[in-house]
Symmetry: C2
Subunit: 199 residues, 2 copies
DNA sequence: CCTACCGATCGGTAGG
DNA sequence: CCTACCGATCGGTAGG
């Protein structure tokens, strides 16, 4: 009875049931893992019966692929238009990366932990996008070394992995409701990262 | 027939079947996740029947708890006796941490990805050990700032999370058979980390 | 989105 | 460590 309210009475924007399923999947995949989450768990979470889930999705696996791929793409689109000096570009990338994480920490955790459950062509496609993002960082490092902004003794591949490690570890501890807002974390991490690479 | 050879004929040291189960569990948990790995998978991997697995272990969950707890403890024991200046201690910790990872990258991945499947008292106990390790890093940072070795404008909690991020991201890309030996990675990461904190 | 259901697989156990 | 088995749950489907 309380389920259906008048269309104009809802507080937030209307969410499709499919959208609800994806959102609940993020929480459940995070808590129980992909394999440990059943279609029945998902159905319970959105308030429908197990068989009805298939009216909205192709299968359990396609939920995971869509979540991870969409998640990865956010990092790419957030850093599509970098300009300025290498230092400015690196600062902008750090900020964009942390904005994506902070916007949905749970999705970030799904992206980094559950992608191993994806195989074959889906995995190849997603990995290619991740590598493309890593290359974006690599290009900034190379440019910074060439321009003399960054220390010449830096090992570029290792620097990329270091920066990725710092940034991708953030979802493990960051809380949107914690005492550190995302902007403060971004500023602090940018300071540490830049201190390590600047000439 | 080929299964049982004369006791002295084996190449490596004798491994108990229990040990074999734990080793195969590391691989399987990594590939399929804890929930996605069945007792039957484990039994197949060690060459016994599903029911026989319970002659060696208490249950599926106890395998996970033991792997993760043992894994976490390695980081603590590897850094139990640090001495010298803050810089020396930090270098030693980085080296010890990477030695533990390099000794068993797959176990490291299980530790960092599968601990979420552990709940209750087991989880509390393991998390306490993790926090104890983090405090060990924190103490080094604090000491380095006090002594003037490290930059005074460092945010200690953030520095700890940065270092943990760099180190704990290593299992995601490190290959023991890759072109970078563990010692080279340790040296490179130490250089980058120290550059970020040294005064 | 529900009813009703499928074959497969799950963790685990009794008794040897 | 095997034989033989248990009740529970799994992803997914036909037909409405």
């Amino acid at each position: 009875m309380a389920k259906r309210s008048a269309p104009g009475a809802e507080k937030g924007p209307k969410k499709s049931r499919q959208q609800r399923i994806f959102e609940e999947a993020v929480q459940l995949f995070n808590k129980q893992g992909y394999a440990g989450t059943s279609i029945r768990d998902l159905a319970d979470a959105v308030g429908i019966l197990p068989g009805s889930v298939y009216a909205h999705i192709d299968g359990k696996h396609s939920i995971l692929v869509r979540l991870v791929e969409h998640g990865v793409e956010q990092y790419l689109t957030g850093t599509a238009n970098l300009s300025g000096t290498a230092e400015e570009q690196l600062r902008a990338l750090i900020d964009a990366h942390l904005s994506v994480i902070a916007a949905n920490v749970d999705l970030a955790l799904v992206v980094f932990h559950q992608w191993r459950h994806i195989e074959g062509a889906d995995r190849d496609r997603i990995m290619a996008k991740r590598r493309s993002y890593e290359q974006r960082i690599r290009d900034i490092i190379d440019r910074g070394i060439s321009s003399g902004e960054f220390r010449p003794d830096i090992d570029p591949p290792l620097a990329v992995l270091t920066i990725l490690g710092i940034l991708n570890w953030v979802p493990e501890w960051f809380s949107p409701n914690g005492r550190d807002p995302a902007a403060a974390v971004s500023k602090g991490l940018a300071q540490i990262i830049l201190a390590g690479v600047l000439n």
